[in-house]
């Protein structure tokens, strides 16, 4: 790779934040190039420094960040040596940026047309009519229907996908040589994601500009990037062509990242199906083991949860005073669960999985039909010891920020048992150790714990009353890959130890595959398919299930 080909060259770049007299390094001596006409991917989880790198190229670092070393060379000029005025000229014409959240990245009070046109007005001189014509042209090129109508619309009136296209139009209207796209598809649903990525690729092919595509999602990187670099904790861990990276990941970390993404089997060799599924391979073995165990015991285990003909409703608000109507959210659901089983519930956002969970737990009482736990109807019984507990998605939200951990764990005991203070504290101590934390953590507040630690506390709080059934709503989605593995491991251990029954709600198919015996798929409030996990994944029957599996997995 010759230096002439590289339009952007980052050399030994280090960026730090001054935090209470200490300098925290967020980008640590990284170097990489972007070649003319290529699409380079930067992969990394939150905290890897990828966004900071992007902002530094644009000169948009927050005031508290300092460049500690290195240079950023764009067509030979070191951007770090430029005056603000010169940088301003470069933005838009040389380098542009596309941001993650298109809703907040647009000014809510100005029309889309005005904002896209603004980019043009800042860098070129035309008549009013010409500005408008050029803007409409740009809007058409990114695939927006009715550009003259969109021109007059406000950001909040467009869908996420349309807004993102508009943002791309805005970034490209002045023909920059390099476009930096920071998580451009993260806020979009799967089908729209693909369309936007294809749009970027089209722009790259048509206009020959280079793209830096930043994402935490390997599927996104794989779809259109030629080369990619992997970042972790501010350092470049690995780099290379995308095919190489995926076929033969070099470092442990890259392998872990890959493991989080199941790959759809190649159509050519059906016999290869099971073996070619990356990351699911090893887990598949443990799962078989576990299922054999369960198969024996299932005859001895009782049915713990029985749901029949369940319909769940949401109250609706009237115009002036809260006049009530009802909206049906869940339709005719039937589930039966045996003790020790793990049932997975998958579906897109809005499908009703959380509503179903809340109904089972008793938080939503507008139901018709039967829900019985341990043969006691949920509708009739009060919250009591045999009640199922729930582990919520965001542990920071589920722990009271004004209470110490010890208090949070003691509270369910205070409410549901007659134990004295000493006995309660003994139980609290017991459970905190079981989730892998120490008594010292009991004295802390939630904001003093890390994400993984908070998850553990949330699990402890749910389990301290020995519930038979635990519902876990997206329990690991906000965690980094390495911590995810730890938490899932913890959950499995506890399940074995206490013979717990889990209901696992997740959109992450890999997690579901790892943890569940049976899976049911929810679409628009109805269960469209419910099968034993391998059967569902390898030979799905329902059309929607097939769609879901296809779009969630990367292709080989």
């Amino acid at each position: 790779m010759s230096k002439e080909e590289a339009i952007l060259s980052i050399e030994d770049l280090t960026i730090g934040f001054a935090k209470q007299r200490k300098m925290k390094t967020v980008v640590d001596h990284i170097s990489f190039d972007v070649k003319k006409g290529e699409i380079l991917g930067i992969v990394g989880e939150s905290g890897s420094g990828k966004s900071m790198t992007a902002l530094s190229v644009m000169g948009l670092l927050p005031a508290s960040a300092k460049i500690l070393s290195g240079g950023i060379h764009f067509f030979g000029t070191n951007l770090l040596n430029l005056e603000e005025k010169e940088l301003r000229q470069l933005r838009g014409t040389g380098i542009s940026m596309v941001f993650q959240d298109s809703m907040t990245s647009f000014n809510p009070l100005l029309t889309i047309g005005a904002q896209v046109e603004e980019m043009l007005r800042l860098h070129s001189k035309h008549t009013k009519e010409e500005y408008r014509a050029l803007t409409l042209e740009a809007l058409t090129e990114v695939g927006l229907p009715n550009p003259s109508e969109i021109y007059n619309r406000y950001p909040h009136e467009l869908s996420g996908g349309m807004r993102q296209r508009a943002m791309i139009a805005m970034a490209m209207i002045t023909s920059p040589k390099l476009v930096i796209a920071d998580e451009p598809t993260t806020a979009l649903d799967v089908t729209t994601q693909n369309k936007i990525l294809q749009l970027l690729k089209k722009m790259n092919e048509k206009h020959g500009m280079s793209i830096i595509l930043i994402s935490h999602d390997l599927r996104v990187i794989q779809s259109i990037c030629g080369r990619a670099i992997v970042m972790k904790d501010g350092r470049i861990v690995e780099s290379g062509t995308v095919t190489e990276l995926f076929a033969h990941p070099g470092t442990e970390y890259t392998k872990q990242l890959m493991a989080a993404v199941p790959v759809l089997f190649s159509r050519s060799d059906p016999g290869q199906n099971e073996a070619s599924i990356m990351g699911l391979k090893e887990n598949a073995n443990t799962n078989t083991e576990k299922k054999d165990n369960n198969a024996d015991q299932s005859k001895r285990q009782e049915e713990i949860l029985v749901i029949r003909n369940l319909n769940v409703f949401y109250p609706e608000k009237g115009i002036v005073f809260g006049k009530k109507g009802r909206k049906q959210v869940i339709r005719d659901v039937n589930i039966s669960l045996k003790q020790g089983e793990t049932l997975g519930i998958v579906g897109e956002s809005g499908s009703g999985k959380s509503t179903l969970a809340k109904a089972i737990v008793g938080l939503n009482r507008e139901i018709e039909g039967v829900i019985k736990i341990n043969d006691v109807a949920v509708k009739d019984s009060e919250i009591s010891v045999s009640r199922p507990q729930m582990v919520f998605q965001d542990p920071y939200g589920s722990l009271n920020p004004t209470k110490k951990i010890g208090w949070i764990l003691e509270e369910p005991l205070k409410l549901q048992t007659n134990l004295g203070k000493k006995e309660r504290m003994a139980k609290v101590n017991e459970i905190i150790h079981q989730v892998g934390l120490t008594s010292e953590h009991l004295e802390r507040y939630p904001f003093q714990l890390s994400g993984g630690q908070r998850h553990r506390v949330a699990i402890a709080a749910a389990l301290i009353v020995n519930p038979k059934l635990v519902i876990l709503d997206e329990p690991v989605s906000s965690l980094d890959v390495t911590i995810q593995a730890q938490i899932l491991g913890l959950l499995k251990d506890l399940q074995k130890k206490y013979n717990l029954t889990y209901i696992f709600i997740s959109h992450d198919l890999n997690v579901v595959f790892q943890m569940c015996n049976r899976v049911c798929v929810i679409y628009k409030g109805e269960i469209v398919e419910m099968k034993e996990v391998r059967e569902l994944f390898f030979s799905p029957q329902n059309e929607y299930t097939k769609e879901l599996l296809k779009s969630a997995m990367a292709t080989v």
Binding site: M58, R88, L90, S96, S105, E118
Partner: protein, 315 residues
């Protein structure tokens, strides 16, 4: 459309509630108002006659309905504190213009001074100028408006002789002179409010500056000043408008005290003297006027919101 209708309904309900509240307050007064109006020497017949005329023998809802009917026509009855039988509405009309003039002047001062100051202090955030402005605003918010009025009278009226204390001139007679005089009580009312506005505007601006669309504008290559005026200001002013509307109530309250200090023949002074003289008809009327003005203006601001903020428009 739904938004407008909802706001109209709220408007009428609020006005209705306000009138009930005002009326009720003055008709639960213990004691016999006939006695207090006519004095201890009045005979029983005179007292009865008074009660008949004032309609004190009717039931509560009837009295309210009567009062409301008349009020809508502009008739608030007769004042009891003056020797001649003065109509309440006449009394009010004379004073209204003074108070309005004062309120409008104060409002203009507030807008003209606080917006540039607010912008300045947000731009120079954490600089010396900002800290200075912050300290000064804190001090001015701590000064009671009537004390400020007294100081202004002392310094500008008596010592510097820039105006004659107590010399009110109506704007109809001599606009220039009237302005020269009124600007001082307006300053007394405005200063504490300016301090609040500057603080509010500053934090609104700073809040907007943190938002994503500012970063987008920067990434397009805009100058900071352009971003401020073309993007940020519009967004930041929206909550400020609500704040201004809320302040209206405060401004009117401020005029009550300041009129006392500067001896202005306005509604505020009339209110205070009526309370002291137990002239409830006048008190009721003034309160209803002031409250209605506030409610109506708030309603208008709510309507304007639709026009300003496209997010509110379609629902």
């Amino acid at each position: 459309m739904k938004y407008t209708i909802k706001k109209c309904i709220t408007l009428f309900i609020s006005l209705f509630f306000a009138s009930i509240l005002t009326f009720t307050a003055f008709h639960i007064i213990p004691g016999d108002s006939a006695l207090s109006a006519l004095g201890m020497d009045a005979t029983e017949e005179q007292l009865e006659e008074y009660r008949e005329i004032m309609g004190l023998n009717k039931s509560f809802p009837e009295r309210y309905a009567d009062w409301l009917k008349n009020a809508l026509k502009g008739d608030f009855g007769y004042s009891s504190q003056y020797q001649m039988r003065m109509r309440v509405s006449t009394l009010i009309k004379e004073r209204l213009i003074v108070t309005l003039w004062l309120a409008v002047l104060s409002f203009m001062l507030i807008v003209l001074v606080s917006i540039p100051l607010g912008i300045l202090s947000a731009r120079k955030k954490n600089g010396i100028l900002d800290s200075l402005i912050s300290l000064v605003t804190q001090v001015f918010m701590s000064i009671p408006s009537f004390f400020l009025g007294m100081l202004i009278t002392l310094i500008f009226g008596v010592i510097l002789k820039w105006f004659t204390p107590g010399g009110y001139v109506s704007p109809g007679e001599n606009f220039g002179l009237s302005l020269r005089f009124m600007v001082f009580p307006a300053i007394a009312v405005a200063i504490p409010k300016i301090a609040m506005m500057v603080k509010f505007l500053r934090s609104s601006l700073l809040g907007e500056m943190e938002l994503d669309y500012v970063r987008t504008a920067k990434s397009k290559g805009m100058k900071n000043i352009s971003i401020l005026f073309k993007h940020i200001l519009k967004n930041a002013l929206i909550p400020v408008i609500t704040f201004l509307a809320m302040m209206l109530a405060d401004i009117l309250a401020g005029t009550i005290l300041v009129e006392q200090v500067f001896n202005l023949p306005g509604l505020g002074r009339l209110l205070v003297s009526s309370i002291a003289n137990r002239d409830y008809a006048v008190v009721q009327a003034i309160i209803l006027y002031i409250v209605s003005v506030v409610i109506i203006i708030n309603f208008l601001v709510d309507l304007i919101y639709q026009w300003i903020d496209p997010r509110v428009r379609r629902n």
